[in-house]
Amino acid sequence: MTIEIKTSTLEPVRNTFAHIERRFGDKPATRYQEATYDVASEINFHYKPLWQPEYELNDTGRTAIVMEDWYAFKDPRQFYYGSYVQMRAKQQEVAESNYSFFEKRNLARLIPDEIQRKVIRLLVPLRHVEQAANLNNVYGSSLGYGTAITQALLYNGMDRLGNAQYLSRIGLILDSNSGDALNEAKRYWMDDAIWQGVRSYCEANICVEDWFESFVAQDAILDGLIYELVYLQFDQWLADNGGQDFSMLTEFIQNWNKDTNRWVDAVVKIAAAESDANKQLLEQWIGTWKAKALEALAPLAEEMVGPEALAIAEDALVKRLNKAGLLK
């Protein structure tokens, strides 16, 4: 049947949805654009939330950051659900083969005991930091505004659960699946003085009301420092001290960090570029949380790598923030 149809009659009557056309012109749109822009409701919400009657269900007022257009937060990775899970599936396939290689050859036996102890004390408790990050990002996703940023926050939140699970599996590899290493790591998290600063930072951030501030404290500041300190410097230190095979187990988080930093930097940069008021607010938040984070991480940095480590991490973070137009 269709063979008789003249192609001219099969010309589309429009290229994309009207709201996409209003933003990007009358041309075929990408899947990221159609899945993202102007999807969230903006008006006529009927009922004020019983749990927060001072706001509408979707409300720009839940952060002090002000944006003319909340869809300015374009994700440089252009993740919508499909592209997001496919990217992570690829990465997890590599991780899976790393973990099974490690387990099958029992590479743990080649790692000196004291290094293993150090990993249980200094690396495995980070699963709880990831848990805090999960809460903070999902918080932003649920109360933030505009799909561009809220979807990315949800992907990030779920990534953090994934990271927590990978870190937990490191513990399980070291304790032969007994769960002892995880319990031990949790005791450090709860009681060891070295972790209390970070734990208190996490608890404080989970209670922050402004979702954008919470994002800054978690994704920009704490994660930025931890990435430099743990996944670059401590990883190198482990490699230099007989624990090089751990890199196979943290490779996922390392690659994840690289991809995520691009998004975090873009968000911070776009918010700062929007207005002086935003910029000042961001700098104020950064000032407070960075000072707290440095204090919290100091004993860990010293123990992981040495006295210089934290300053190097801070330097790297500040460079990233400078690039985003802040702290200059």
């Binding site: 009922y47 749990w51 009657p53």
Partner: protein, 120 residues
Amino acid sequence: MPVYALNPGYKGERMDRVENFHGNQIVYVGWDEHRMFCAAKAFPLPPSMPFAAVIENIMPEAFGQHPEFSQINWETAEWLLDGEPFKPQLEASLEAQGVGHKSMVRFKTPELQGFQNAGV
């Protein structure tokens, strides 16, 4: 029963207060057992409007499309106002005879059974 809310005293804004209708009030009119019209209809009317004007102007607008409309005998129509039996006073205003904001005015036409006598 009041809502259970995080903080006591939750009270939503009443969206349809009469003051929001620029001097009008909403009146609903429905023709019983005439399903050609899927539901009763809503009209913003001045409270001072006499009932005669409702019959002369509003009823044709609301129900004039029905093939039986011209046969309605308003003398024998039976009325309900907000669920209670009601006898409209043609010269009196809506307000004066208790037709208030968001009142429901229903009428029945005993001699008209609808299209094909099927309540349509």
